[in-house]
């Protein structure tokens, strides 16, 4: 495999860096070459966060080229839109429907766009869109902070990733602190089932 590109986008505090590391670790476990690119710093919470995971023999650059994402994993709808430049008609967009309204909207009394408007914009780039209720799944698992595990599970169920489900689970076991492991594994499973049950959403 030459390259497989994943763009993860969301809001600081949603667990994007850990999700990226899980994907990267799973790739290394399978002996694959990988680059995971993150931006740390300025915002501890609340700012837009993007991370790139690139897997494959030819991968050198840490960042994904415009139009070349195989997967856009959106942790938040507005941030998913903000990263559509990486998408093409080949891109699978897997999006959490949980909205985090930017404070600018509150101050200017503007409305958060509807899910329909967001979907329409994503469809301009690709028809391959799966919407996941990751926050509900995380809460069902027992902790809202496991939405990242739920999303990784959902992504694994699409069968699109170049790494095995077992490697992802193994990476999760390695990276998540012991006392949070069980709830994360549960969220991963719920995410996997949520997409797995809906066969029509497979690509």
């Amino acid at each position: 495999m030459d390259e497989f590109n994943i763009v993860l986008a969301g809001v600081g505090g949603q667990g994007i860096l850990l999700a990226s590391e899980i994907l990267g670790t799973a790739a290394v476990k399978e002996g694959l070459n990988v680059r995971v690119s993150e931006i740390h710093g300025m915002a501890q919470r609340g700012g837009a966060v993007v991370s790139n995971v690139r897997i494959g023999d030819k991968v050198l650059a840490p960042t994904v080229l415009e139009g070349k994402a195989d997967v856009l994993l959106g942790f938040e709808p507005l941030e998913t839109l903000r990263n559509l430049k990486f998408a093409s008609e080949k891109t699978l967009v897997l999006m959490n429907d949980e909205t985090v309204p930017p404070t600018e909207l509150m101050r200017t009394m503007k409305k958060y766009p509807s899910l329909n408007e967001i979907t329409e914009k994503i469809h301009r780039f690709t028809r391959k869109l799966i919407v996941v209720k990751a926050a509900d799944l995380a809460l069902k698992a027992g902790n809202i902070l496991t939405r990242n595990a739920a999303l990784i599970g959902a992504l694994a169920a699409t069968g699109n990733l170049p790494v095995k489900v077992e490697s992802l689970e193994e990476a999760l076991r390695e990276l998540v602190p012991a006392k949070y492991l069980e709830v994360n594994l549960k969220a991963f499973k719920l995410g996997f089932e949520a997409v797995g049950e809906n066969k029509s959403s497979r690509f």
């Binding site: 931006i39 710093g41 919470r45 050198l60 650059a61 559509l84 509150m106 998540v176």
Partner: protein, 635 residues
């Protein structure tokens, strides 16, 4: 990132860095790879001041230092960090100091003359540059510090190289008797990639100080001959550069086009040429000071056209053009001088390199970027921005509210480097000028001198110790009227909660004497010094008013712990947080939203509401609500 902080930050178990399994292959962040390199190089002492994108080097070492048997410290600032290490390496013990690029400005005074003195134990100075200013006030290119100081410079392009070069830098340092700069960029520091381990070397912690005044005491009579020695060492370094395995022709191509690049730029150049289907030669430079003149000269001779691909300033291009004059005066050289094929600002990307190379070669890029741009621009039109903001529950929000309320927005508010720099944005709007670490208190004095307007300078706790004290002494000595608001959240928050002189703990997780900001201020001769809790709005306002009216310099310490730290501790202790609640007394006046900009206060179905998952129950909104319509119960 630190083990002591697990629970809050569920990131990797850094014990993987300690593994004594050579050839083990693991996924490491560039900064973690440097930490592994420290263990493989047998470095005994690591000093640092945290700063993005370098912070995780020190943090990773702090997490494992005791077990690895080495000493690390968070020094007060980068200059102190270099000076401590200068003592260490001149006793024959190996050391590394890590800092962000602007930290080297602070340390430069020490570094420039340490270059004359040299080292006995290997010494590496990591300078982490930040093209694109992801988390910095400028994007200076620190390769020029290598040129300025005559120190060797290595530039990794991947986490693997970051680790390997840390080890090589120590060897090079000992071979030459010089400190070595390891220059990284954000995309190396903050990229994870596979790293294959080498052997661990047991760190040596104890050395011996040998009196050698002619080498170590840089009075003019000694400095002159040591400058000559430095220039001799630089010549020797150039010979090493000619043979360095890090300077290498990666591929030869068909002789038409040759690319010269270094660091992260290599990654983009390699992918860009492959995308464009170009059969090029690539000279990848990992040791970028001194440059291998003969090697570059021979490379220039072998091609019709040369393209220099590098991030930020045309450092390589200037040198390559000078070398071309002697070796290949007719070769065409493309880069960013005179005509700019690549951007001189911001970070490079595969796209930027594809675009530049396409222009030079006349090849058509395989991707229509223009089409993507216009389609994208259409899709994100009117998309609200999401800049970094103060966290819900951040005590700085309360401090800014108080400062604004007391001064009515009429004072000038110089600010400083830290989370609180985010206070410049509406609605808090406290932050009128920001230059560098510690600048607020001094800049305020100049503004007051020039205008007579009241100034309230803002500085954080860690930054106060780092660089604000001389400015405060200046205010006392020259009797400047300035109020310094020290926003003390008891940690170095923005870079990941490192300890500092005021926290009572060290990088080795031992307890330390707390250096109290209020005592320092009193010791500096400030007559009006008070400590307040920013969440106690009335008391804090009364004190700040007094401080601003005080005829000479005054200091108010707004002290309350960083909310992330506080929440993490509550979770650890199993204390539940009961979020604040908007009651039916709410008139939707929006005062809370308009005055505080807290991300936990949202509008739901047209009504002010509180996001329970974000609210930390700090109570600020409850205490400023004009209708007492927000209830903030116990926690």
């Amino acid at each position: 990132m630190r083990l002591s902080n697990e629970g809050e930050n569920p990131l990797p178990n850094l014990r993987v860095l300690l593994s004594d399994e050579p050839r083990k292959r693991v996924l490491l962040l560039g900064n973690e790879a440097i930490a592994r390199g420290i263990l493989e190089a047998g470095i005994g002492v690591v000093t640092t001041y945290p700063g993005t994108p370098a912070s995780e080097i020190g943090d990773s070492v702090s997490a494992i230092a005791e077990e690895a048997g080495l000493y690390m410290e968070y020094s007060t600032n980068e200059m102190v960090a270099v000076e401590v290490a200068a003592g260490v390496v001149n006793c024959g013990v190996r050391a590394l100091t890590a800092m962000k690029h602007v930290g080297l400005n602070v340390a430069a005074d020490a570094v420039m003359t340490l270059a004359y003195i040299g080292v006995r134990g290997g010494y590496v100075i990591v300078t982490a540059d930040d093209p694109q200013c992801y988390s910095s006030q400028n994007e200076q290119d620190n390769r020029f510090y290598a040129l300025l100081s005559n120190l060797p410079c290595l530039e990794p392009s991947t986490p693997q190289e970051a680790k390997d070069m840390t080890v090589s830098a120590v060897e090079l340092s000992e071979e030459l008797g010089l400190p070595v700069l390891l220059r990284t960029t954000t995309r190396v520091n903050h990229t994870r990639g596979p790293v294959v381990y080498g052997n661990l070397t047991k760190p040596k912690l104890k050395g011996e100080f040998v009196r050698e005044p002619s080498r170590l005491v840089m009075v003019p009579a000694n400095a002159r001959p040591m400058h000559v020695k430095l220039l001799e060492k630089a010549e020797k370094a150039e010979e090493i550069s000619e043979k360095s395995p890090y300077n290498t022709v990666v591929c030869k191509g068909n002789g038409e086009l040759g690319i010269i690049c270094s660091g992260s730029a290599y990654n983009y150049a390699a992918e860009a040429t492959s995308l464009l289907g170009l059969d090029v030669g690539i000279l990848k430079l990992g040791m970028t000071h001194p440059l291998p003149e003969r090697m570059i000269g021979e490379f220039l001779k072998a091609y019709k056209k040369i393209v220099v691909v590098e991030e930020l300033e045309p450092y390589l291009e200037m040198n390559v053009k000078a070398i071309a004059k002697d070796y290949a005066p007719t070769v065409e050289i493309y880069g960013k001088m005179r005509r700019s094929y690549f951007p001189r600002k911001g970070e490079l990307s595969t796209r930027a390199v594809v675009t530049g190379l396409a222009e030079i070669t006349g090849k058509k890029p395989p991707i229509d970027f223009g089409e993507i741009d216009s389609k994208y621009a259409e899709a994100v039109k009117d998309l609200p921005s999401r800049p970094p903001i103060l966290c819900p529950g951040c005590p700085h929000r309360a401090s800014f509210y108080v400062i604004r309320k007391v001064t009515g927005g009429k004072a000038v508010y110089p600010t400083d480097i830290g989370c609180y720099a985010l206070g410049f944005a509406p609605p808090l709007s406290i932050g009128d000028i920001l230059i560098c670490m510690g600048s607020s208190v001094s800049t305020a004095q100049g503004i007051n001198k020039a205008t007579g307007v009241d100034t309230v300078a803002v500085v954080g706790d860690s930054t106060f110790f780092h660089a604000a004290i001389p400015g405060l002494v200046n205010a006392v000595y020259n009797n400047h009227k300035v109020t310094l608001a020290v926003l003390d959240n008891l940690t170095t928050a923005m870079t990941g909660h490192q300890p500092h002189p005021g926290t009572g703990t060290t990088g080795m997780h031992t307890t330390a004497t707390k250096v109290l900001i209020e005592k320092v201020a009193e010791g500096c001769g400030v007559k009006y010094v008070r400590v307040v809790n920013p969440f106690n709005i009335d008391e804090a306002s009364r004190v700040l008013k007094e401080a601003v009216q005080y005829p000479g310099p005054s200091v108010v310490v707004f002290r309350a712990p960083c909310t992330l730290m506080l929440m993490s501790e509550k979770r650890r202790k199993g204390i539940k947080t009961v979020p604040c609640r908007v009651t039916d007394r709410c008139t939707n006046c929006m005062a809370c939203i308009k005055l505080l900009g807290c991300p936990a206060i949202i509008i739901k179905d047209g009504k002010v509401s509180i996001d329970e998952t974000l609210c930390t129950a700090c109570g600020l909104c409850a205490s400023i609500c004009p209708y007492k319509a927000i209830e903030c119960g116990g926690s």
